[in-house]
């Protein structure tokens, strides 16, 4: 292989690498840790997302949660960056509705909601055991997967 070809391949590899940097978290929330295996009538909610986020810095996800629905939120990140600390609060009043610290940083939570509201899910990757070598290691994928089902009407 001549020198020109080698340089071309190197440059093309660099280009592909820089594109994939931005795309490496696509659909992360649909993989392994973010899935639930007991469905119980829950369906995936389209507002589930993934993002490339910074370790130890809070990131806010904001979404509408409709009333008279049950939801399950499952959070996941790359191996070695757990535990994940998250706090769910009302976007208008900022009132804290749930903090997973009280449940030893459990990665999923189920809740039923009475009235439609915007909720904020503030996530911090605590990465207690992560060995950070460079800046690249400080940015990792995180997924917020959401499942929902209608609350059955009570009575006859």
């Amino acid at each position: 292989m001549n020198c020109n070809k080698k340089i071309s391949i190197l440059l093309i590899a660099l280009l592909i690498g820089s594109v994939s940097y931005a795309q490496r978290c696509n659909n992360f929330h649909r993989r392994g840790d973010c899935k639930i295996y007991r469905v119980d009538g829950f369906e995936p909610y389209g507002q589930a997302r993934s993002a490339l986020i910074e370790v130890k810095k809070p990131t806010t996800f904001k979404a509408v949660f409709y009333g008279q629905r049950d939801y399950k939120i499952v959070l996941c990140t790359q191996y070695g960056y757990y535990p994940i600390h998250y706090v769910i609060s009302n976007a208008d009043t900022k009132e804290i509705l749930y903090d997973n610290q009280e449940d030893d940083y459990v990665e999923s939570v189920g809740f039923t909601i009475d009235k439609t509201q915007n909720l904020i899910i503030e996530i911090t990757l605590m990465a207690e055991k992560a060995k950070v070598k460079d800046a690249f290691d400080l940015r990792v994928c995180a997924g917020v997967n959401i499942y929902w089902r209608k609350v059955p009407r009570m009575g006859f």
Binding site: S18, C25, S50, T60, G110, K115, T116
Partner: protein
């Protein structure tokens, strides 16, 4: 030969630099698509629903939907500037989702063809691939599959726009999509429908608020700025809603399932409903009427 090689390397290096710059810029942006690079300053991800998810909240089985409200594919030739092409791309994506509710499936391929033409016009090649067209052909009679495909299409497009650092274009497409969804919802429902359904329409205020906050981040773009100005009337009506408010109460049941009770409930009045309907129809006409 040497000059030719030098030119090729220069081009590749420039492309590489542009790409690096693009990635760096996207780190300071926020997005609603499925994957996002978050900035250190803002760190907010807006999770916005696809049009079919808005419909799923509003259109229950006893509502008779009318096909006449969708934007005709014949209008597509009139959209010759980027703003109207992107806005109406969103409109047609919503119409496609709406069509998947109907048994009459004859129009769906025409709408998909129009979506493909508009995606090409705004340089979004490959969003509507041959694979998607084949899947739609194979699933024309299966409503659930078409719904799923329409949602995939919307999120795939959002992802491509975000990853290519074109959030301003994403705002325009999303604007067209959300306005068309509100337009179709509000035209298929009269105030005489049950209070629950009317309330579901008004509750789209929460989706609109999130969308509006997302769009405001790109208000330095001239098209986004003009669209935000057009939407300010709807925003004002949503902001003026009155509420019945009760304290939020959070409890846990024996299975550790959290129960969130209370909060704000929109007070539904015919006056508010009609004002919103009028404004949405006005804005939607502005978007689609280019003849």
């Amino acid at each position: 030969m040497k000059i030719k090689s030098l030119l090729i390397y220069s081009l590749l290096i420039i492309l590489g630099l542009v790409q690096c710059k693009s990635n760096k810029r996207s780190e300071t942006n926020e997005s609603n698509s499925e994957s996002t690079v978050i900035s250190t300053e803002e760190q907010v991800v807006y999770m916005l629903p696809a049009p079919d998810e808005i419909f799923a909240e509003i259109f229950i089985s006893d509502i008779r939907l009318d096909i006449q409200y969708i934007n005709s594919v014949d209008n597509a030739v009139n959209y010759i500037d980027v703003k109207s092409q992107a806005l109406n791309l969103g409109v047609y994506i919503t119409d496609f989702a709406y069509l998947s509710v109907f048994d009459n499936t004859a129009n769906e391929l025409d709408y998909l063809k129009t979506i493909k033409e508009l995606t090409d016009k705004v340089n979004l090649y490959g969003v509507v691939s041959e694979g998607i067209i084949e899947r739609i052909n194979a699933n024309l009679l299966i409503k659930d599959s078409l719904n799923k495909i329409s949602r995939e299409l919307y999120y795939k497009m959002s992802q491509i726009l975000e990853n290519s650092d074109q959030n301003n274009l994403l705002v325009l497409v999303s604007t067209g999509a959300i306005i068309e969804a509100l337009y179709l919802a509000i035209n298929n429902i009269t105030f005489k429908h049950s209070a629950d359904i009317v309330e579901r329409v008004l509750e789209q205020k929460f989706v609109f608020d999130n969308y509006y906050e997302f769009a405001q981040q790109y208000s330095d773009d001239v098209y986004v700025k003009s669209v935000l100005s057009q939407l300010s009337g709807i925003k004002k009506i949503f902001d003026d809603f009155s509420y019945d408010e009760t304290n939020i109460k959070v409890t846990k049941d024996k299975d550790c399932f959290i129960i969130i009770e209370g909060g704000k409930e929109i007070i539904v009045t015919e006056d508010v409903y009609l004002k919103l309907k009028e404004k949405i129809i006005d804005i939607r006409m502005m978007f689609v009427d280019k003849a």
